[in-house]
């Protein structure tokens, strides 16, 4: 068991190892010249500006929506609740495609911020809403009795308790922004990952790409560090043994109309625009864009790859999660650490690493399905891991001990007790991985075996030739594929407070 886990952890460190090796093999002065270029400075500025502006916007929107939906008596909030998870079903590059269709002159930082915010605010909304649901209302009532009005209660009592959720969501969004390629390339907004891609096209398996990737890794680590520092040793679980009673919703009164208007506007921007654009392009394209043969094959290949990756990742995540949850000591700590680091790496770094390793060391694996599935496992293992770990943490060892004392072997105990109880969490993890693989673009473009054309690849190929109508059926297929999975996510988030 521990050796399996150790191997897996080592595998997830391959991309980092590759970047490190590339750095060393290039030599300091060449590396220096490659990194310290004016263009790199421009890219750094773009990327930093994007993160600094978009993340706080997402915080405001995510917290605002969560508060309205969970805490107030806003009419129709049962409908709003799942609706704002739906943007997760629309990949960011489809969002860009939609906005470019509506406002063709959109480009640059403002466009990047707009699309980023609309695509990623659910990553903030979900954990904040889940935390809000679990807050002890008695604490807020005490604050009101102590003289705080509604705003005072929110800023002095509720918001500080949301800190962990906000930091976690912010980190997730930041990391996604650093790794996003398709969305920004379509908006003609050059961030680091866009440049890495371009570098890679100029010098395949080359120094410049790895150097930029190295800088990107450092940026990701910086984000991780910032979040860890901000989190500190904070522990904001509710104290005391009281059972939290249901919260009396805050009455909005005459604020109801502006609140509803705001939510409607958000839904239109985040969901209405993409859906409408796809429909419009489908209408313009007419019947001829429905090349069922190609579309069918793309759907089949995408589903096949995504399913294989989801199953493999979930299965492999179990022993790792087990070690992380059940044992203490060095292995557990390094598992957690490796998980965090890998979760922040952009797909392109992993893909670059695997391509190089495959060409030089494992030639038969090069351009094989096994390699790309392995890449997906490396990329998305952290997502499955987080969910399974949360699920395992809710299965107390006393249950397993009880089962063992009743005569079940460890295997039977696992199958009959642990697996059953963690099944919802594992399903959510698998669902997440499925969606992520289906909408993954950067690593797929680099690693796909000849003849594999996933939905993302087809979409990308058509939209880069500006054949938006032909790209529309693929965009639609992507969104439709992601919907049921997003519902699983929503249901799971109603039970688990942490994403």
């Amino acid at each position: 068991m521990t050796s399996t886990v150790a191997i897996l952890v080592a595998a997830t460190l391959i991309p980092l190892g590759y970047v490190g090796w590339a750095t060393l093999s290039i030599g300091w002065s060449r590396a220096y010249h490659l990194v310290v270029r004016p263009r790199v400075g421009e890219l750094l500025f773009n990327t930093a500006a994007l993160v600094v502006i978009a993340v706080p916007l997402c915080v405001v929107i995510g917290v605002g929506v969560a508060w309205l939906v969970e805490r107030t008596d806003l009419p129709g909030r049962a409908l709003w609740r799942p609706l704002f998870v739906a943007p997760l079903a629309i990949p960011a590059f489809v969002n860009s495609y939609a906005w470019v269709g509506v406002l063709p002159s959109m480009h640059g930082l403002s466009a990047g911020v707009l699309v980023s915010t609309l695509s990623y605010f659910p990553f903030m909304y979900l954990p904040v809403a889940a935390t809000l649901r679990r807050l002890d209302p008695a604490v807020e009532e005490s604050a009101r009795a102590l003289g705080s009005d509604t705003a005072g209660v929110f800023f002095r009592v509720v918001l500080p308790q949301l800190r962990l959720a906000i930091l976690g969501g912010g980190l997730l969004i930041g990391v996604h922004l650093l790794a996003e390629f398709g969305a920004f390339a379509m908006l003609r907004f050059d961030t680091f990952t866009v440049a890495i891609f371009q570098q890679f096209q100029v010098t395949f398996d080359g120094a410049a790409g790895s150097m930029l990737a190295g800088v990107l890794v450092l940026l990701c680590l910086a984000l991780l560090l910032a979040e860890a520092l901000a989190r500190g040793h904070a522990r904001f679980a509710s104290i005391g043994a009281g059972v939290p009673r249901a919260m009396t919703p805050i009455h909005l009164g005459r604020n109801t109309i502006p609140a509803q208007a705001g939510l409607v506007a958000l839904a239109v921007l985040a969901l209405g625009v993409p859906v409408w654009t796809i429909m419009r392009w489908l209408w313009i394209g007419g019947a001829q864009v429905w090349v069922l043969n190609d579309i069918g094959m793309a759907v089949g290949q995408t589903v096949g790859l995504a399913t294989a990756a989801a199953v493999l990742t979930t299965v492999l995540a179990f022993p790792v999660a087990w070690v992380a949850v059940r044992s203490r000591g060095v292995l557990a700590r390094s598992v957690e650490g490796a998980n965090y680091v890998t979760s922040s790496l952009p797909g392109i770094v992993t893909a670059l690493a695997l391509v190089t390793v495959a060409i030089h060391v494992a030639r038969p694996l090069y351009q094989s399905v096994a390699l790309i599935v392995f890449a997906y496992v490396l990329l998305f293992m952290p997502q499955a891991l987080v969910n399974i770990r949360a699920g395992l943490a809710q299965v107390p060892p006393s249950l397993e001990e009880a089962s063992r004392s009743l005569g079940s072997s460890p295997t039977t105990t696992f199958l009959r007790v642990t697996l059953r109880l963690t099944a919802p969490a594992a399903a959510a993890g698998a669902a997440l991985v499925f969606v992520s693989v289906a909408t993954e673009l950067t690593a797929t473009l680099l690693l796909a075996p000849t003849g594999i054309r996933t939905l993302s690849m087809q979409f990308w190929s058509f939209s880069s030739e500006l054949d938006y109508a032909a790209a529309a059926p693929y965009a639609l297929a992507l969104v439709v594929l992601a919907i049921p999975v997003t519902l699983v996510l929503l249901r799971q988030s109603l039970k688990v407070a942490a994403l």
Partner: protein, 349 residues
């Protein structure tokens, strides 16, 4: 002259069509402690929340220190009522230190004043000043409760509301914390209303006990009164163990298997049920040779440490009686004992 700090008149509240409180009247004189005693779900916590302002009444009014704060359709917001509220498990702010918790309501005051007040309050609740920098999760349940009290007292409220303040504590801690809190509140002279389901708690610290059942008060009075002179069966049984015997009442005396026992003068004549408290029965061992009427046999002994509970089968076909007495040399099983009744009985209709 004592003023009335809290005046509740005709209060009524329904949730989802179910009436939770009916026509509640309650007065709290200044400086006193009142306990609302009732089982879970009887509506006592709702009453507290209405007074605190977290709910609005459907009928009736609430007046605090002469100012009407609630009536159907209009209510003063909780943060403007000047009421101190302590939730069941303290509800300390987990993201603030103890000192910041206590100082929460003191916004707007000078820093040094706040610090001094926090220190003063910590002393009042018998916590060392060093606790100010600790976080709530580092404190025990009892300590958290005391911090919550200090926090609520910080703003010099005219009325303190405590929601089952001791139910979250270990049994061993309960008594001592209770005494400490009672003393503290009395010393501060704060008018207090607490709700509880524990009759011992209500009897020991309250000046006035209001017994609630199904959203109505069955009796309101001093602890001695509600205990010794309950006006109905529910109150009698809720306040403590009862021993019920059939009897016949005639001119202030009830005739039952234990003899003739004086009862309250207003009791109607004729057959009735006589209710006695366990401590009114004294069992004395008799030697076999004495006459056998009015004598029962001990059939079971339950040792409770301080006391024993004797189950005594009286002569005749009356049900066995349970008598509590101190545990030093209790009568053995099968011993013959004579039961004497001390004090007046209660006849309930």
């Amino acid at each position: 002259m004592t003023t009335t700090i809290l005046d509740v008149k005709g209060l009524a509240k329904s949730f989802h069509g179910n009436a939770v409180l009916h026509d509640i009247d309650l007065d709290l004189p200044s400086g006193t402690t009142t306990a609302v005693l009732g089982s879970s779900g009887c509506g006592k916590t709702t009453l507290l929340r209405l007074i605190a302002g977290f709910e609005t009444p459907d009928g009736g009014t609430i007046t605090i220190a002469g100012r009407q704060v609630a009536s159907p359709g209009s209510a003063v917001a909780p943060h403007r009522r000047g009421v101190g509220y302590v939730a069941q498990d303290g509800a300390l702010f987990p993201h603030l230190t103890v000192g910041q918790n206590i100082a929460y309501g003191l916004r707007g005051n000078a820093r040094s004043e706040v610090r001094a007040r926090v220190a003063e309050l910590l002393e009042t609740v018998s916590l060392d000043a060093s606790y100010a920098s600790r976080r709530p999760h580092q404190l025990s349940g009892g300590q958290q409760q005391r911090v919550a009290l200090a926090r609520a007292l910080a703003r010099h409220p005219v009325l303190m509301l405590l929601d089952e303040p001791f139910s979250a504590l270990d049994t061993g801690l309960r008594a001592s914390t209770r005494k400490a809190v009672a003393g503290l509140l009395a010393a501060a002279g704060v008018t207090t209303l607490l709700v509880t389901h524990d009759q011992e708690e209500a009897l020991s610290i309250a000046d006035q006990v209001a017994v609630m059942h199904d959203g109505r008060f069955t009796q309101v009075g001093s602890p001695q009164r509600v205990y010794r002179q309950p006006t109905d069966r529910f109150t009698a049984e809720f306040l403590g163990d009862c021993i019920s015997l059939p009897c016949t009442v005639a001119s202030g005396v009830a005739d039952c298997t234990l003899g003739r026992i004086p009862v309250q003068g207003s009791a109607p004549e004729g057959p009735a049920t006589l209710v006695l408290r366990p401590e009114q029965l004294v069992a004395t061992v008799v030697s076999d040779s004495e006459r056998l009427d009015g004598v029962g046999t001990v059939i079971a002994i339950e040792f409770l440490g301080h006391d024993v509970l004797l189950t005594i089968d009286p002569a005749g076909d009356t049900a066995p009686l349970i008598v509590r007495q101190h545990s030093l040399s209790p009568p053995p099983i099968d011993a013959k004992v004579r039961i004497e009744v001390v004090g007046n009985g209660i006849v309930l209709t």
